[in-house]
Symmetry: C2
Subunit: 240 residues, 2 copies
């Protein structure tokens, strides 16, 4: 048996692991989901679209354009380009009003987790369904300089989550194999995109989804927030 084990490990040598971390932004590194939810609520109210707040919450994290398409279809309203642009602008206006008041902050352990990965030379990048207009405040709060760290926003890919393009592009920017990568996110859209990209999804509760919702969407492991992930990093990060 031992011999057999040795033989097999020689016949199929494990490649050196190059695990990379691909992070969602809102609700994963920055405590901004609830502000986004109420900013969308304000935009929809202005447009005369009545939608319960929890339903907005459960759609946050997917592409904003897909999100508005889906809900306009669900509410039976006509989907026009003008309406979509108006909603997107009103959302950005409402969100940035809150963000500039300083209510949006990094989640506990987010800066420490990124610093740890950098220190350990484990590659990491950020991939968000948001546009740079709303992501800029969050990156600033997080102390991430997009000229130094790969940050893929919705403006840079054809399809946002739950399509896997954002995470695949982030892996390409890092020069790593998406199949060796971990996708860290707070929404089921991140977990679905991770599965579609054949990456492993790590769910965080810090966006307000329930643990079972994330597991049902394919999460490999679920932690409370970045601090909790950092505490258990050996469960998921490959040894160097």
């Amino acid at each position: 048996m031992l011999l057999c084990g040795i033989f097999r490990s020689q016949a199929f040598p494990m490649p050196r692991s190059d695990t990379a971390f691909l992070f969602d932004l809102d609700g994963t590194l920055v405590d901004s989901v609830y502000q986004h939810v109420l900013a969308w609520k304000e935009a929809l109210d202005r447009e005369g679209v009545e939608l319960s707040v929890w339903r907005i919450h459960r759609k946050i994290g997917m592409s904003g354009s897909l999100f508005t398409h889906i809900l306009l279809r669900e509410t039976g309203l006509e989907i026009t380009e003008e309406r979509l642009i108006r909603l997107r602008n009103w959302h950005a206006e409402a969100y940035n009003r809150q963000a500039t008041q300083g209510s949006v902050r990094p989640l506990p352990g987010a800066r420490e987790l990124l610093a740890f990965l950098t220190e350990e030379e484990i590659p990491w990048a950020i991939a968000t369904s948001g546009r740079m207009t709303t992501a800029a405040h969050n990156l600033e709060a997080l102390g991430v300089d997009p000229s130094k760290v790969p940050v893929v926003t919705r403006d840079q890919v054809r399809h946002a989550k739950p399509d896997p393009d954002l995470f695949i592009t982030a892996a390409q920017r890092l020069g790593v194999d998406i199949h060796q990568s971990l996708v860290v996110g707070d929404s089921i859209w991140d977990m679905l995109a991770a599965q579609r990209a054949r990456a492993l999804g790590i769910g965080l509760l810090s966006g307000g989804y329930g643990q079972k919702e994330l597991e049902d969407a394919g999460a490999f492991r679920v932690y409370e927030d970045p601090a909790d992930l950092l505490k258990h990093i050996d469960e998921v990060a490959a040894r160097r």
Copy 2:
């Protein structure tokens, strides 16, 4: 077998059912949870207490005093009467600012569900962990007149949820047996209080908890919102 069935039903006649509905308010009948969450966030920020928004969300629905006690203990801050009063006032101020802007509305189907129960002469009451200062706006939005319908608020009982006092008092006001009553709520605190009162808990997703979280806290059934409960009312309401 048929005879046996008849014999048994004669030997143990079922009493006439007097199912009553005891409703939580925020997140159950009124779409106000997310506004409460960010109002608490604002109050805590003013007090210099840093707490992730999802953690506030998961404590909403329990007694405000228990909530502030727990989080001050968790964050290691001294719990003084002045601090508790200050936090409560700041929360009420922030919440009422949003509520008076008209952002708080009844959940889909809430008015229809209450009208249906009234029409069918099924007793119902409201039991909320909130105080009348913040509940007043919500009752108004819902079209409920507290001089005509039993509304039990935190001011009127010794302990709020997850203690069962609010629901037990509501059943007493209706003159119904709590063991025949259904407790309808959106938070795990409602479901725990229901179990402690030996009532049956019905969970609604409209407060933003996940289905499994409510089931794990003892929900007998879970529906999306009041409209969905009304659609499936025959699953839970006793036939008259």
